[in-house]
C-alpha cells in the first residue's frame, strides 16, 4: 500500500466514527480522490456489519436469563464502605493468582472448585492492607448480631476460650461464594490470616473435606444445615481445629 493511502487504522477510525471533525473531513476528501481507499473503507464497513450479525450467536435461553436475574437478587448487598477498597484489593488478588499460575502451582482448579477459587480470591482480598472488615471486633456478641437481617440464616460463634490456641477473631464481613450470601469471619492463627466462609449448605460446592493449593489450605465441613469453608496458609490440621470449634457450637 502506498504511503499516499490511508492506513488501515485511519480507515477503521473513519468507519468507527472515531476521527476528529478535521481528520474526518480530510479522510473523506481523500476517499473522494482515491478509489482504492474508498473500496477499503467500504469493505471495512461491510465487515463491521457482517460481524455484528455473525457474532451475536449466543442468545441466553429464558431459563438462563431467569437464573441470572434471580441469582443477582441476594437478600441484601452490603453497602459497604469497603466497596472502593475492594476495587484496589481485587486486582491485587488477581495479580497474586496470576503469579501463582505462572509459577505452575495452579493445579487444583478443576471442575468443582469454583467455590475454592472464589474463597481464595476473597481471602487474598482481605490480606490487602487497605482492606478493613465491615465489623472490626473480636467480641462474638458484636459480630453475630451484626449479621442479623443481612443473611438468610443464623449461626453461633464460640467463646474465645473455645477457639484453638493462639486464634483470635478479628472481624467479619458479608461475602458471596457460589452466588450465595455468606458470613466471612476473619481470624488470625499464630499471626497467620485465616478466612472462614459460613453459608447455607447446598452440597453444590463439591469440595473435598481438605485440599491445598499454592501454599493455601482449604477445609470444608457441613453441620446443622450450614457449610463452613476455611482458607489460610496454616496447616490443614489447624484449619480443621478451627472449623470444628465452629461446628461444635451450632
Amino acid at each position: 500500500m502506498s504511503s499516499d493511502h490511508l492506513s488501515l487504522e485511519s480507515l477503521g477510525a473513519l468507519v468507527d466514527g472515531e476521527l476528529s471533525p478535521a481528520n474526518e473531513a480530510a479522510a473523506q476528501a481523500h476517499l473522494n480522490q482515491c478509489h482504492d481507499c474508498a473500496k477499503q473503507a467500504f469493505g471495512l464497513h461491510q465487515l463491521r456489519s457482517a460481524i455484528q450479525r455473525a457474532a451475536l450467536c449466543n442468545k441466553p435461553s429464558p431459563e438462563v436469563l431467569a437464573r441470572l436475574t434471580a441469582g443477582s437478587r441476594p437478600a441484601e448487598v452490603p453497602r459497604s464502605r469497603l466497596a472502593h477498597l475492594r476495587a484496589i484489593a481485587l486486582p491485587l488478588a488477581a495479580a497474586l493468582i496470576l503469579a501463582a499460575a505462572a509459577l505452575g502451582g495452579w493445579t487444583f482448579l478443576r471442575h468443582a472448585d469454583t467455590a475454592a477459587t472464589e474463597a481464595l480470591d476473597q481471602h487474598l482480598s482481605t490480606l490487602s492492607e487497605a482492606a478493613q472488615p465491615e465489623v472490626l471486633s473480636s467480641d462474638r456478641h458484636t459480630v453475630k448480631p451484626w449479621f442479623e437481617g443481612k443473611l438468610p440464616f443464623s449461626f453461633n460463634l464460640p467463646e474465645p476460650a473455645a477457639l484453638p490456641p493462639d486464634t483470635i477473631l478479628h472481624g467479619a464481613d458479608l461475602a458471596y461464594v457460589q452466588a450465595k450470601p455468606a458470613a466471612l469471619l476473619l481470624f488470625t492463627m499464630r499471626k497467620h490470616h485465616v478466612s472462614v466462609f459460613v453459608s447455607q449448605a447446598s452440597g453444590l460446592t463439591g469440595l473435598p473435606h481438605r485440599q491445598s493449593s499454592s501454599g493455601f489450605q482449604f477445609v470444608e465441613a457441613q453441620h446443622s444445615g450450614l457449610e463452613f469453608l476455611a482458607v489460610g496458609d496454616v496447616s490443614s490440621g489447624e484449619l480443621d481445629a478451627l472449623v470444628r470449634s465452629l461446628t461444635a457450637v451450632q
Binding site: L44, A54, N58, R86
Partner: protein, 178 residues
Amino acid sequence: MPTGRSATDRFQDLAFPLLPSLYNHACWLVRDTAEAEDLVQETLTKGLRAFDGFEQGTNFKAWIFRILRNTFLTSRTALAGSRTVFLEDHPDAIETADPAPTPEFLVIQSDNLAAVRRALEELPPHLREVILLCDLEELRYREVAAVLDLPIGTVMSRLARARQAMRQLLRPAFGGGV
C-alpha cells in the same frame, strides 16, 4: 441519593438489559455455555458489590464489561490459557500476507454468516475481543481501552490487525477473487 431506590435496584436497572450482551461476550471468551453463565453470574455479583465505586454518568456498559473481562482473567479457563498469548500482541502472526485484499468479497449473504463466525472463532482471543467490543458492542475506542486496560493507540492498532486477520481468514471462504 436522588431517589429512594436501593443500589441493588439501580444496579439491576442498568445490568439486566445488558444480560444478552454479557452472556454472548462471555460465550466468546470461554467457549462453553455453562461456564459463560457462571462467568456472567459472578460478574453480576462482583458488579453489585462494587457498584458503590461506579462513577455515575460514565458508561455502565464499559464498566460491567471490564468486570466481566477481569473476572474471566482470573477464571480457570483463562488461567489455563494464560501461559499462551492472551494478554500479548503478536503482530508478526498476521501481517505477513497481502495487506490490501480487495474487499468486494465482504458482500456477505446471510447464509455466509457461518463463515464469518468461523473466522471469528479462529481469530486469536486478544484480537477477537477487541473486534467484538468495538464492532458488536459498539463501545468507543476509549471505552474499549478501559475494558482492556490498554492505551487507545494499542486498541487502534490491535483493531486494525484484527480486521486484517478477518479479511485473510475470510478470503478462502469467499473465492479467489480477493
